[in-house]
Amino acid sequence: MNLKAETLAKIDEVITHYPVKRSATLPLLHLIQEDMGYIPEKAEEWIAAKLEIEPINVYEVVTFYPMFRRKPIGRRHIKVCRTLSCALMGGYKTCEQFEKEFNTHRGEVSPDGNVTIEFVECLASCGTAPVVLIDDDLHEKVDCAKAKQISDQIKAEAKKR
């Protein structure tokens, strides 16, 4: 487990917030996913040991929540809303445009490792549908043209690295 020092500090701190250690399972999973981008199997065992529970207890929690990832994702995480307003305003087309741009499918890591595209439920910006959340930035009224523009920007940034 190669966690950053600050993550480890946060983990030790957050455990003290709860009367029983096991309650810290969720916050620990969040911290580790933030740090590593996903939750490897080793992390489940690491958390279990840390909280003095069995790995199966952590495994249950990880699989219960779809937002915990057990596999690594691309460098950028593109989340396209598919709930009603966005679906009506062309969210599916936006998603397909992203897929075409990065030559990948939903839920997969693009071949160049740049992005993972996913459908998500309502991002609470129905007035500016369709919306896309890229990592932590909200992009509004993302039609196909804007999707292409955003994709180009991501590719350009990736080249600079």
Binding site: E54, P55, I56, N57, Y59, E60, F64
Partner: protein, 562 residues
């Protein structure tokens, strides 16, 4: 769990119009059971924690009405009785503990609706493969869909597909489609077996019972999960697809693997045993037993089973063998090796034989490691029986060193062994060759090969008898299957050898009641199925080897397990 309570701890509840006094803290399912009202349930198990996730035990509940201001009872003018304020929504019976004045309805239209609704949801993704399911005939889902279901399906969609044959461990196979997610197995593994490897992963319709990747359900209590699984999801790999349960005869028996004496049921058909399951005894094994005890029946049909009476290695008949043995004894210098595996009756007759021969008696001790649950350190099921019957005065040792010394000194010429392998108990081949051995036993071993007289006897599944467990609880086992031809009941053989007139277990017990002070009031018939506690005080000073197990705390200082 209902504990015996003082009258002060009793509260009166009303179930379906019937008043009943039950101990405080009893839940509604157990309270209803006391008046023979069945509240269907899946996830609730009396020996496990309550989670309330199956929702099958929904009931209607109400409390007598009182005026909020004055606390005066509000009377119903129509009946002249106190009005009952019924809670408009159903409550779970398993998670509701009774309180004084509680009113419960288990048969109202709302309860009926609830049960039908819950059953319908449970059956949505259930494969209904009862014709090939091992649980059929003892399946709660099957029984309760007949009893409480709506009777027909409205489900037209596709059923979920899940893994059909996951090996959870060496003895347990999981059919995930049949699982109704009651979590009994998970709680058992965590709370009783202390091996928390099972859990539900994913969610909603995809929830799946699974082991943590890389781990297996391999503990020695894994098959209890199969017993408590209310449906056919967890099945015993050994019993799977072997036999329909309704063809099997159930015989009460005792687990002989250790001095815990777990109560069991032996399931047999046409002389063949198919499985052994635990029988509930709240003072001994609750509702559990070890996996190792369930395999014991396999030795019944093993290839090394003794079936022929032999005298000097030639086939013979029982009476000739008895005469031959008697001739050997007449030469003098006889010793008896009894057994902690014999029943109380056999040990009593072994004592009679030893008395008749004026012979010394030794027993062989078997000590393993206790698992603090249902396998104790003493692997002989009936050492205490030998103490109670007076066969031995002190605890046996693992090696027959005294006997070996006596043989070397030429004092012993003949040895009767009741099922004990003398070679394994420390006698050398040279020592065995020096003596004439009369061997009574079920299976071939070095002693039966060296013996002058071999009389095949019966296994615990083929005869009646009693055993005294570590708590000094005398418990009886009954004959489940007939013995193979050639094997004679040990009591008959021992009675003949000892010259005692006793032909069956009832007549042996007449003698026991007359001669053994601790058992004077007893007969085989009047020992209850859950056993009878004997007075342990005469033996309190003995250093028994057992450590703490379920429902047993050692009182005397524990001897070191060597």
């Amino acid at each position: 769990m209902i504990q015996p309570a003082k009258p002060a701890d009793l509260v009166t509840v009303n179930i379906d119009g019937k008043d009943i006094a039950v101990p405080k803290g009893t839940n509604v399912i157990e309270a209803a059971r006391l008046i023979n009202v069945d509240i269907p349930h899946y996830c609730y198990h009396p020996k496990l924690t309550i989670v309330g996730n199956c929702r099958m035990c929904l009931i209607e509940m109400g409390m007598p009405a009182v005026d909020p201001a004055t606390k005066a009872p509000i009377m119903d003018p129509a009946t002249g009785k106190q009005k009952i304020n019924w809670i408009p929504r159903p409550q779970i019976g398993c998670g509701t503990n009774v309180s004084s004045g509680l009113h419960i309805r288990t048969q109202s239209p709302m309860v009926k609706d609830c049960r039908e609704g819950v059953m319908e949801f449970l059956l949505i993704n259930h494969p209904l493969d009862c014709p090939i399911c091992d649980q059929a005939g003892e399946c709660k889902l099957q029984e309760q869909s007949t009893g409480y279901g709506r009777g027909y399906s409205r489900f037209v969609e596709q059923k979920n597909v899940k893994p059909k044959r996951t090996q959870l461990g060496p003895r347990v196979t999981l059919d995930d489609e049949r699982c109704i997610l009651c979590s009994r197995c998970i709680r058992f593994s965590k709370e009783i077996a202390k091996d928390d490897v099972l859990g539900f992963i994913d969610r909603g319709s995809y929830s799946t019972l699974t082991c943590y990747p890389g781990k297996t359900l391999a503990n020695n209590y894994s098959l209890n999960t199969v017993d408590i699984c209310p449906v056919g999801a967890l099945t015993s790999t050994d019993f799977r697809f072997k036999m329909r349960v309704w063809f099997l005869k159930q015989t009460n028996s005792i687990d002989t693997e250790s001095s815990v004496g777990a109560n069991t049921v032996v399931w047999s058909r046409e002389g063949a045993i198919y499985r052994i399951t635990p029988r509930r005894n709240d003072d001994v094994n609750d509702t559990w037993m070890a996996d190792s005890g369930r395999e014991l029946f396999k030795s019944v049909k093993s290839a090394d089973r003794l079936t022929a009476v032999k005298v000097n290695s030639a086939d013979s008949a029982l009476d000739i063998a008895i005469n031959a043995a008697t001739q050997l004894f007449k030469e003098g210098g006889a010793a008896v090796v009894g057994s902690g595996r014999s029943s109380v009756e056999e040990q009593f007759l072994t004592k009679k034989l030893a008395d008749a021969l004026k012979a010394s008696v030794s027993l062989v001790s078997r000590v393993g490691e206790g698992d603090k649950l249902l396998v104790s350190a003493d692997r002989n099921p009936n050492v205490r029986g030998a103490l109670v019957t007076g066969l031995i005065k002190s605890l046996p040792s693992q090696k027959l060193t005294d006997l070996a010394a006596a043989i070397d000194a030429g004092k012993i010429k003949a040895v009767v062994s009741v099922g004990e392998d003398l070679a394994a108990a420390g006698l050398s081949a040279a020592q065995l060759a020096k003596i004439s051995i009369v061997y009574l036993g079920t299976h071939a071993n070095a002693t039966s090969v060296a013996a002058k007289v071999v009389i095949p006897t019966q296994s615990v599944f083929e005869k009646n008898g009693t055993l005294v467990n570590q708590q000094f609880r005398i418990q009886k086992f009954a004959r489940a299957v007939p013995a193979p031809a050639g094997a004679t009941d040990d009591t008959v053989v021992l009675a003949k050898l000892a010259g005692v007139a006793a032909t069956d277990i009832a007549s042996v017990w007449k003698l026991i009641a007359a001669e053994v002070p601790a058992l004077t009031t007893m007969s085989y018939a009047n020992i209850p199925e859950t056993g009878l506690l004997l007075d342990a005080t005469p033996f309190a000073a003995l250093p028994f080897v057992e450590g703490e197990t379920l429902h047993y705390k050692p009182t005397a200082p524990v001897a070191a397990t060597a």
